[in-house]
């Protein structure tokens, strides 16, 4: 099946939740990426038919399904809260869509046990949802969504309420499960890393607008605008305003270097330059790098990486370091910036002016 949104909008009173949007989704994994309140849930509810668009149409394989009862459509959904029928056992929860579809008992039994096996809850079929851990409850909800083989499978931040280790585990499993499906899978998340791990296509959403869509890694490497670059970077991309004049790049007051490589073709004028935290470093790696003095504000440690927040010229910069390192607050350090890693955005529109060449390509 193909799902298309044709110029849909969603307003509640004076509040615009979704601005006019056109979107076509192919079978396979589509990640909806955006910060909280970007409109991910609103958009998914329109796709599912749980809400009716204020204007516009929803098409399945070219057939208008706007306003059709969800009951009659081939849609399944997983919420971020763990939604199961509390009075049904896990078995009955998973079996429920099949019973309604009128399958015979043997088929239901085989499908329920098969799907439960895939999600590794086959030992818990007699329990009630309340007797399960959070991770198991969400596995049950996912199993119920998978079992009916819907053409459209929507997952609204399904892992956000789980511990990060569980998240890691389930993410890998889900990716394998989706790969074996022929449905349009829509997976909403706020985390850039999760989008990259899930792969597939990405739709970047912000303030009720689709900013960019395309293959996930491609969008990551060539964000169409400053806003996409920020939404699709964790921590958000470092931004520095600067100028290009006579083949030289000037960042702020006291950092300057020759515009080479991808920056060489840019016309003179004002730009906002962006660099991802991972591409700043605390030690010099090559001769092209430019030193930027900064004062350490805080070192955030995520287990395998250290994020050093530092201030340069009233701008906060974040540097990602591999491994765990301690840094004293207030110390002055030098950050090294490789011009070959710089993104340039037009200062007025925020549109992408130049993107670094990805490694190896």
């Amino acid at each position: 099946m193909r799902l298309a949104l044709d110029d849909v909008t969603r307003r509640i009173g004076d509040e615009v939740h979704i601005h006019p949007t056109d979107l076509a989704l192919e079978p396979g994994l589509n990640v909806l990426l955006g910060p909280t309140t970007a409109g991910k849930t609103s958009l998914m509810r329109l796709m599912a038919g749980l809400d009716r668009p204020t204007t516009g149409r929803v098409l399945e394989d070219g057939v208008d399904v706007t306003g059709r009862a969800v009951r009659t459509r081939s849609v399944a959904m997983v919420y971020q809260q763990f939604i199961n029928y509390p009075s049904f056992t896990v078995y009955e929860n998973i079996a429920s869509p099949l019973r309604l579809a009128g399958f015979d008992a043997d088929t239901i039994d085989a499908k329920v046990r098969g799907t439960a096996g895939t999600l590794r809850i086959d030992g818990l079929l007699d329990r009630l949802p309340a007797q399960l851990s959070g991770g198991q409850q969400q596995r049950c909800a996912i199993a119920r969504a998978l079992v009916k083989q819907a053409d459209l499978l929507l997952l609204d931040e399904p892992l956000v309420n789980l511990d990060y280790k569980l998240r890691e585990e389930l993410r890998a499993e889900l990716r394998a499960i989706f790969a074996a499906r022929d449905a349009v899978v829509v997976y909403a998340t706020t985390e850039p890393l999760e989008a990259l791990i899930m792969g597939g296509n990405v739709v970047v959403l912000d303030e009720g607008r689709v900013l960019q869509s395309g293959p996930t890694v491609e969008v990551y490497r060539r964000p169409a605008s400053m806003r996409v670059a920020q939404v699709f970077s964790d921590p958000p991309m470092n931004l520095l305003s600067g100028r290009i004049d006579d083949g030289r790049v000037r960042l702020g007051r006291d950092v300057g270097f020759d515009a080479t490589g991808h920056l060489a073709e840019l016309a003179a004028g004002d730009y906002t330059f962006g660099v991802r935290a991972a591409h700043l470093s605390l030690a010099r790696n090559n001769g092209h790098e430019v030193a930027v003095p900064a004062a350490v504000e805080l070192a955030e440690i995520s287990g395998s990486e250290t994020f050093v927040h530092a201030e340069h010229d009233d701008t906060r910069l974040v540097v990602q370091e591999e491994g765990v390192h301690l840094h004293d607050m207030g110390r002055t350090i030098e950050l090294f910036l490789d011009p070959a890693r710089l993104f340039a955005f037009a200062a007025d529109t925020g549109g992408l002016a130049a993107a670094p060449t990805p490694p190896g390509g």
Binding site: L50, R71, V75, Y85, S87, P97, L100, A141, R144, K148
Partner: protein
């Protein structure tokens, strides 16, 4: 610790004395009751209870009360369940106002409604039927039921409804199969309040009936015979009136705690 235990015991004693006295009287003869204070019957008699169970004037009162209370509880729940669902799930113009006006019915004493009901039921030929009393009580119980049930329903995430529709449930199927079991506690508590109101309400029940549907409370207030008041009999009738209420409370006591926790009731 000890002090609070003593206090609690005193409090319970204080609460139980009238009850004890009632039970005591029901096992005494009229002579003993009028003769002086005794804390234990000199001769235990079951005559009072026997009289109630064998005399149709008496036991029909209980049957009548039970019928209209049951009827009322059933009607109240049937009407209130969908209404409460609508209030808990949908926003519609004036929903908050309607909710408020529903509850205002309970601000007026039942006596206010006495005359209109009397007139209306006479006209429709409903006077002195069980349905008459049951319907009259609905005026008070339906708003209360809607209010209590709405509180419980609000606690059920809307996503459960949506998941059910996505799974392919029709609304009635979902409501009966999935939703009702989730608010069992609320239904229990609501039924209890409907029962209690209807069971103890005297004024409407007495005025809207004469013979066929005469409630037990009315029977009790009319037992002044030529020989004076039959205290023992009255006490026995009183004991029998308390028992159904006590039974209902016993069965819904756990639900009540949940109901209180949810902030309604």
């Amino acid at each position: 610790m000890r002090k609070s235990t003593v206090g609690l015991l005193l409090y319970f004693g204080f609460l139980l004395i009238p009850l004890y006295w009632l039970v005591l009287m029901s096992f005494k003869t009229n002579e003993e009751i009028l003769g002086g204070i005794t804390f234990w019957p000199e001769t235990i008699t079951f005559a009072n209870y026997l009289e109630i169970f064998t005399n149709p004037d008496w036991y029909s009162g209980y049957i009548n009360s039970a019928i209209y209370v049951g009827l009322n509880t059933a009607i109240s729940l049937t009407v209130a369940l969908p209404a409460a669902y609508a209030f808990s799930r949908y926003r519609f113009i004036g929903d908050k106002h309607m909710f408020f006006w529903l509850l205002t019915n309970r601000m007026a004493p039942p006596a206010v409604f006495l005359l209109p009901f009397f007139q209306l039921y006479q006209t429709f030929g409903l006077f002195d039927t069980h349905l008459a009393v049951a319907l009259a009580h609905c005026l008070f119980n339906v708003p209360l039921a809607v209010w209590i049930l709405e509180g419980f329903m609000r606690g059920v995430p809307r996503e459960i409804d949506e998941t059910a529709y996505l799974d392919g449930y029709t609304f009635p199927h979902f409501f009966v199969r999935v939703f009702i079991p989730l608010i069992k506690a609320g239904i229990g508590v609501t039924a209890f309040f409907c029962f209690m109101f209807s069971w103890v309400e005297l004024l409407l029940a007495r005025t809207l009936t004469s013979v066929e549907a005469k409630p037990i409370a009315a029977t009790m207030t009319r037992t002044v015979s030529a020989a004076g008041i039959d205290w023992g009999l009255l006490a026995a009738a009183g004991v029998l009136t308390i028992i159904p209420g006590a039974l209902v409370i016993y069965f819904v006591r756990n639900y009540m705690a949940k109901g209180f926790a949810l902030g309604r009731v």
